[in-house]
């Protein structure tokens, strides 16, 4: 039996009727229509589907939409207004953190979650935080540098 829920995605409430087994990922991509979050494995191994649910990083492929009823969901589309890039988005571009871009949305969401909970992370912490986001293109180097640079900028700004 389909269930009525309300998802708040990037600050916009979406009243939806969903199958209890529908994943948060499929619901956001299909019903909400935001396709920035990707499906790379469907079993929480690759992190391409990473979203924030009430601020927590979540592999949305393995999280049921019904469980996010009433929660605040943030996807890559919610990290900036799309015109002025968020510092992490900008840094990913300038430091070689983006190649094919398929892991990028999940990476950016994981990095956002990291800097929210740990504003001044060590390189090891950064690597740990994005180790659930697999990237085959960049060898992670540009990604780690980008996150470190944003953290350093924030620290400098106090």
């Amino acid at each position: 039996m389909a269930v009525d829920i309300t998802l708040s995605v990037n600050g916009v409430p979406y009243p939806l009727t969903v199958d209890p087994h529908a994943s948060l990922l499929h619901t956001v991509r299909g019903d909400v229509g935001l396709t920035g979050s990707k499906e790379g494995c469907d079993d929480s191994e690759c992190g391409a589907c990473m979203m924030l649910v009430d601020g927590r990083p979540v592999n949305s492929c393995s999280y049921l939409a019904v469980q996010a009823d009433g929660s605040d969901v943030t996807t890559v589309e919610g990290l900036s207004d799309g015109e002025t890039l968020a510092p992490l988005q900008e840094a990913f571009l300038t430091r070689g953190g983006v190649q094919c871009g398929f892991c990028t949305p999940g990476m950016l969401v994981s990095a956002t979650a990291l800097l929210d909970r740990s504003p001044n992370p060590s390189e090891d912490e950064i690597r740990t935080a994005v180790s659930g986001n697999l990237c085959r293109c960049t060898g992670y180097d540009g990604i780690v540098k980008a996150i470190a640079a944003v953290a350093a900028e924030r620290a400098a700004q106090g």
Binding site: T35, K38, E77, T94, C100, L108, R127, D141
Partner: protein, 774 residues
Amino acid sequence: MSVIDTPAQGSSTPERPRAFLRPDGKEKVTGLGRYTADLTFTGQLHAAFRYADHPHARIVSIDTSRAKALPGVFAVVTHEDVPDVRYGGMTQDRRLFAKEKVLWEGDVVAGVAARTVEIAREAAALVEVEYEVLSAQPDYVANMAPDAPVLHEGWAEYGADENLVRDGNVMSRYVIAKGDADAAMAGADVVVKSHYVSDASQGVPIEPRALVAQWTGDSVTVWSSTQVPFAARSGVAHTLQIPESKVRIVVPLLGGGFGSKCDFHFEAHVAILAKVTRRPVRLVFTRKEEFVAPDHRREGMDIELETGVTRDGRIVARRGRMVLDKGAYTGEGGFFAQMAAMHACGPYKLDTVRVEAFLNYSTNQPAASIRAPTAPQACWALEQHLDEVAAAIGMDPVELRRRTLVAEGDEGPAGQVFEKIGAKETLEAALELIGYDAYLRGELPDDEAVGVACGWWPCFGVPSGAYVKLNGDGTATIVTGAQENGSGSVMGLPILAAEILGMSPSDFSINYQDTDAGPWDMGSSGSQTTFNNGRAVVEAAQEVRAKLLAMGAEKLEADVADLELADGAVRVKGAPETSVTIADLAGTGEPILGKGSGEVPEAAASDASACVGSLGMESFLAPQLITHAARVKVDRDTGVVRVLDFAAAHDSGVIVNKVGADGQVYGGVMMGIGQALTEATWTDEEGRQKNPGLLDYKLQTASDGPRIQIRWIEIETPNAGPKGSKGVGEPPSVPTSGAVGNAIAKVIGRHVDKLPMTAERVWLAANSPAGEDQ
């Protein structure tokens, strides 16, 4: 020659300014860019395949009636619904849908289009297939025995490249011979023999492949996550027997490939389903399908090497026998025997050579191009073998390489005489970056060591094409047939055109990945986009430049020879105030466009008569040279290896786009470390994959990444790509596992003879008595 360093994480060396941001960057970081699986079409249906139920079986009958009767199913198609033609690169040995036999677990027997994915999968399961089960033949070495049952009974009748030497289950055989290796071996001071075996591994793009097909009239458009749209177009046209003009392949953003999305794959399957249902049909692979169904994986390889040396480190003879697992079908991998044999020689001075390579059919998943096909495994074996040779004559392995690496004027295995190359320079650079001297002085803990390996990879000179057209406001559009796989090679094309036209790279838009728009291109394969399409863009831009100068000369009443293009204007040299902007010239409405392909560089002459089964690669065009050095730490009690520090020194000619080139090395090295330590496709006794998922097929994570230092040995390479550039994309994975393997061996005292060098294998090697086979 110049050298540019890329400092590692945490280093304080200032970096080169990065003026250039990739044009597709913004859509990628905002999530607004569309990949194929992000497309939806009104009325679309979903496809699913019925795969083979046995790795090897004769098909007795296929009954689709129950599947077709399931509510929500619009079509079920088999070999009966498509033209009876075979396809394949160098051997046409495959059909879209299996007809007489299935030859591996991923063979497609039937395709379904249905209202939902779930219904399509349920219907696929309802297709009833009766088989006569045959013995699986996963042992690709045993399959060349004279009495082994022949898998492709009709191989002699298949269409095939006439240069292929074929016999029974041997899909192709290649021999490279230089001098009398047998006699030279007999006269060598020391002879060392080694035997290495590599398991198969996978490309694993993070984007599983996706396709959507839609017909308008008798033309079909297929949106596909392919690396090679023009090959996909040819495949659809050939297998459905329609003209190429009726097939359009569009590639939305491509989520990585690493070779696994090369070649024509599933475009025609989806097209035929869309045709019979008269609806758009969409197919998105699960991660498991992405592992099992494509006819692309890195080939398993059995490698025997023998080297005869003098005590002072001259290689007088190299013999080798390599057997490669082709799997069930050829695809585009028919050249692998020759490529593997070249990598058994390596970039070394060899007095005599006799290397024989066999590419054998089996009932395994087909092998085809994965980032530098055949090279990482063959190089891993050769480089470990060289360390064994060095040990046998009591020489430091680096010193042996110093004495034997090729330089300008030296001869390749089939007589190619090398032009300017930086093999030795990459060796010295990598040693410096990794701190090899400190290692030699014994300054590392006893569970750490540094391993070094060298390798090479050719450039592929092929025709390519591009147009450059000016827009009325003075901006421009590059229309290219080239394919962007994420590396940035297409994104970097504006750099080349801008320089010629006195414009800024940001003045250019790029129309790419659409076979109806751009000229033919080989696609994202062979590290060839900058090399060939860059040349095409340069030539197209030159044509535009000539037009602009002519128009400017008329307008400014000046001689063309006195004019220059700079800052978006045609102006008089030395009198920049006398100028006319490109926008003024382009704004008249008269088309200003250029087209280009450019002359294809050819490899140096060589003695192909010394080779059997030659496909023209016994001479390496503009070879890229690489040295990798790895410092590893080995947990002797568990066999777990961590790579702590890594140095990559590359001669890829002149570097056109440094951000992009560095990115290829960082990514390639991590892929190489994965292949060295944790990545393998494990199979059961019948060849079925046991780990088709990302939990047990273990890519390296961010936490596994070592410090990586890069040095580019920039040589303006003659007879190469634009500005003297070479390829960049594939070499970064070539010597990686060899470097890691040699480092492991220094810690545990023996070489691990199987790839990947998993913890268990390292532990076994470290704990088995000397001389005993693992």
